[in-house]
């Protein structure tokens, strides 16, 4: 683990706030969010892009922040679970997870909710197959996914109503 060269200044927007950090260019975005900016809602599950617990939105795309060198986030617009409340087009999404049993132990929940939010933004009326497919990059060991699918479907109904 030879950390290359010196730290450099990297600026980006997180949850509508402009932030500048001094970081090694190859540091993981995940660590910068959690350790430098205190945004611990983004979780590490595997560190190799398999589980989706560290998912955040970067310029509107769903990414695993454990695979993103912070240099790539230069001037990017990032949304984490902490910022979702402020800009969610589907304000009912988190409420639906709560009511439908979409969260059990809660460790996959932030990433799962961001993946669901990303889906609903692209496809406000997904069917079950589309929901299952869109969440396939986010592992949950507690729920068997059924109640997560129901939460997303319910959020779609409420979001489209409102």
């Amino acid at each position: 683990m030879n950390t290359p060269r010196a730290r450099c200044e990297i600026s980006f927007t997180v949850n509508d706030e402009h932030r500048t950090v001094l970081a090694f260019p190859m540091e993981r975005l995940l660590d910068v969010l959690r350790e430098r900016l205190g945004l611990t809602g983004t979780k590490e599950g595997c560190g190799e892009g398999e589980c989706g617990s560290c998912a955040v939105l970067m310029n509107g795309a769903l990414v695993n922040s454990c695979l993103v060198p912070v240099l790539q986030a230069q001037e990017a617009k990032i949304v984490t679970i902490e910022g979702l409340g402020q800009q969610c087009r589907f304000p009912a999404l988190q409420q639906c997870f709560l009511e439908c049993g979409g969260a059990q132990c809660g460790i996959c929940t932030p990433g799962m909710i961001l993946a669901a939010w990303h889906l609903l933004n692209q496809n406000p009326q997904p069917d079950l197959e589309e929901i299952r497919e869109a969440l396939a990059g986010n592992l949950c060991r507690c729920t068997g996914y059924v109640q997560i699918w129901e939460a997303v479907a319910e959020a779609a109904v409420r979001g489209n109503r409102g």
Binding site: E48, E99, T109, I113, G137
Partner: protein
């Protein structure tokens, strides 16, 4: 009623604090140097150059102030290896540094040289005893269950059916890895926060390891991101490591495993081998049989004896055995110790039983449904441990309902004709099973759990238990029970975060005991609070929610916060003979019939589960959303156990310790699992509840594998069943012909 979970809002907004989200000023990060060999003597430890070693805190077995063990049942497992190692990944030495990123590099830079000793890697190698690696015979524990006279049944049998069944290891794969944080203060002793199931297990282990009195060890649970048994005993190990580093350095120490360390070094489900020999009449009645159930425990005793106990008792399934002899045995190998995992031995022995029922049916030319129907336990009959079934359970009706929900008969017919002309073979399989709730036998009596309920100044009440929340809904349901007992609303009740300084020992959060056993105690303690208020003349016999809150506020204004306690009192008529393994093994059983429908693609040999019906009798369902979530989650894990999750071993070490190559089911892999409940009630549980946490992991694997057998006309007797296993089984003839009566040779 399905109220929102107590900690739910924090979880969906990302505010919930897990162990790695916690930070204290001056924290050091700990790492563990582990053995790279399965068995041997440590000859030399070298700290290689290139690391600023003077900045590191280093702990070895010599630094342990108390006894070098992870105290549990038998104190045979060292917290740090002292001279000898008995499995790969055994902790040898601890390092800590303020820069988290330096730690893995330092761990790699400690070189250990060994004198190798011959290791044992399988049940058979351990049984042959060519090396003795534990005790005098490599055996951790044996049990013998006997009922009737098995030796007489063989002469009366029309058929004698034999089979051998195997199951592999399974990783719990909670998404939050194991982690703890420890602080040491000369006056206050050790404080540990962690992702864990059993604060008092850790408390007990730390007292012994650190040679500290009860009040100098404090254990607090942080929000726990999944456990499934995987955080039952291992946290005592990792908490010990962090405590030792904190004591030596005088600074807070955090240890959080990365995924690979968690997968290769911590516990998994015990691999097993079960042999059945069964005497059956032409009419399909079981006369009796012999069952040999063996589990591989790894290098140290840990919980293997208890896992073996539950597996042995469940080995006969939900059937009536006039005569039976069950031998259970847990053996040692040079692998990391296997441990607690949801189901705790029952998924292994029930897989064998439910595969064997299909084999018996095939041998008799009877349907898989009919053979089960003819042998179901009925009210008034006795289990293998001679426990009389008192509750009015009707398994035949449960089976009928499950079959009709799954549209079983029609599908069976349809698949038969479909399979003639398609390479995508469809099949449907059944599993019937039971799961005992709470500790086995006298276990609950020994635990003697204590629960408190506190009246607060604002008129609300607070539940005090060491029972932990790790996804199941402990906090929510226990608050619900207290609220319902006192006529309060759910919002009037809160629950303390488990902290050994603040909550009594209500026992470990394991064995599907929380709602049934601890819930019942919460009910009793809550009633005590009401009696106090009534005795003080502040509350009448009938009262409204407002009257209770006012009385509670007034009483605590005068007397301060007040508490009511309830201790476990064994129900009368419960008898257990530990010597002969006879009697009331469990206060209550949950019962279930699961039906799986699969497609096996003969081009890729992959299996898809197309439909899954999970019907169970679990007493009263207290929270339908949480209860259903327990079942769907357990079924998903069970489908993983059957079709995806294969631990590959080399020299006692897990080779595929990554989520990339150890595969669990994703959202795209599972069908919408259909869950149904029957509710008979249960006199032993709070408001009639039984335990349900573990039940749903017992049935999916046999149901799925029976369905694969139905699709291919060839049975498979080992778990897991990955495409390569199906391919290999079909091409080598290792799988057993469904209607062949060949007895499998012993390996």
């Amino acid at each position: 009623m399905s109220v929102p979970r107590k900690e739910g809002l924090d979880k969906v907004t990302g505010r919930a604090q897990y162990i790695d989200d916690m930070s204290l000023p001056g924290t050091l990060y700990g790492g563990t140097v582990r053995s790279s060999i399965p068995r041997g003597r440590i000859r030399k430890v070298t700290f290689l150059p290139g690391i600023p070693w003077d900045e590191f805190v280093v702990v070895t077995a010599k630094d342990i102030p108390g006894k070098n063990c992870v105290a549990l049942i038998v104190d045979d497992q060292p917290c740090l290896a002292d001279g000898w190692v008995n499995h790969p990944e055994e902790p040898v030495l601890l390092l800590a540094h303020a820069d988290r990123r330096l730690v893995p590099q330092a761990v790699q830079s400690v070189k250990i040289e060994y004198d190798l000793l011959p290791p044992l890697f399988s049940i058979e190698e351990s049984e042959r005893q060519q090396e003795i690696i534990w005790g005098t015979d490599n055996i951790f524990k044996t049990y013998l269950v006997e009922k009737g006279n098995v030796d007489e049944v063989w002469a009366k049998a029309d058929f004698i059916v034999e089979g051998e069944y195997r199951t592999g290891a399974q990783e719990q794969l909670y998404i939050e890895t194991n982690g703890v944080m420890a602080c040491f203060d000369r006056n206050r002793g050790i404080t540990v926060w962690g992702s864990l199931q059993c604060p008092y297990y850790v408390h007990k282990a730390l007292m012994k390891l650190c040679a500290l009195p009860e009040d100098q060890v404090r254990v607090l649970q942080t929000e726990t991101g999944g456990a499934f048994g995987g955080k039952e005993e291992y946290p005592s190990m990792i908490a010990g490591h962090a405590a030792l580093l904190a004591m030596k350095s005088g600074r807070p120490v955090k240890i959080v495993y990365d995924r690979m360390e968690d997968m290769v070094a911590t516990t998994k489900r015990h691999p097993s081998r079960t042999r059945h020999r069964t005497a059956v009449t032409r009419e399909g009645k079981i006369l009796g049989g012999e069952i040999e159930f063996v589990i591989e425990g790894g290098a140290y005793a840990t919980l293997s004896s208890v896992v073996l106990s539950r597996g042995t008792i469940h080995a006969g399934g939900p059937y009536f055995w006039p005569s039976v002899r069950i031998r259970g045995k847990a053996v040692a190998t040079n692998a990391p110790p296997h441990g607690a995992f949801r189901g705790f031995g029952a998924p292994q022995s029930l897989f064998a039983m439910e595969r064997h029922m299909d084999r018996i049916a095939a041998r008799l030319g009877m349907s898989a449904v009919e053979i089960r129907r003819r042998n179901f336990l009925k009210t008034g009959q006795t289990t293998t441990t001679a426990q009389t079934i008192a509750e009015p359970i009707d398994l035949d009706r449960l089976l009928q309902r499950a079959l009709s929900l799954a549209d079983y008969e029609a599908k069976k017919e349809r698949f038969r004709s479909h399979n003639l002309s398609s390479s995508a073979k469809k099949g449907i399989g059944v599993a019937a099973f039971l799961h005992g709730a709470g500790f086995t036998g006298s276990g609950e009596r020994y635990l003697a759990s204590l629960v408190g309920v506190e009246g607060c100044a604002d008129g609300r009440v607070r539940v005090l238990v060491s029972s932990t929340e790790f996804g199941q809904g402990t906090k929510t349901v226990l608050c619900q029970i207290a609220a319902e007992t006192l006529g309060l609303s759910y919002q009037d009740v809160e629950i303390a975060q488990p902290d050994t300084e603040a909550v009594p020992n209500s026992g470990p959060t394991v064995a599907s005991r929380t709602v049934m056993v601890v819930g019942k105690l919460v009910q009793a303690a809550a009633l005590g609070l009401r009696y106090t208020l009534m005795g003080a003349g502040l509350l009448g016999e009938r009262h409204s929610r407002e009257e209770f809150c006012q009385a509670c506020a007034r009483y605590s204004a005068e007397h301060g916060r007040f508490k009511s306690w309830a201790r476990y009192d064994p129900p009368s008529g419960i008898f257990w003979d530990e010597e002969r393994y006879r009697g009331e093994a469990y206060a209550a059983y949950a019962w279930a019939v699961y039906v799986a429908e699969v497609t096996v693609d003969l081009t890729t040999y992959s299996v898809t589960v197309d439909d899954f019906v999970a019907l169970q009798e679990v007493g009263r369902v207290l929270h339908p959303v949480l209860a259903r979530g327990q079942i769907t989650g357990g079924v998903a894990q069970g489908i993983g156990y059957a079709l995806y999750e294969k631990v590959l071993w080399r020299e006692g070490r897990m080779l595929n310790g990554q989520m990339t190559n150890y595969i669990m089911p994703t959202s795209a892999d599972l069908p919408p699992i259909r869950v149904y409940f029957e509710e008979l009630g249960n006199v032993h549980g709070a408001f009639g509840a039984k335990g349900i946490g573990e039940l749903p992991i017992d049935g999916p694997a046999p149901a799925v594998v029976n369905a694969v057998g139905d699709a291919l006309g060839t049975g498979f007797d080992s778990l897991p069943l990955l495409p390569e296993d199906i391919f290999q089984g079909m091409s080598s003839g290792a799988a057993t012909g469904a209607d062949s009566d060949a007895v499998r040779g012993l390996r």
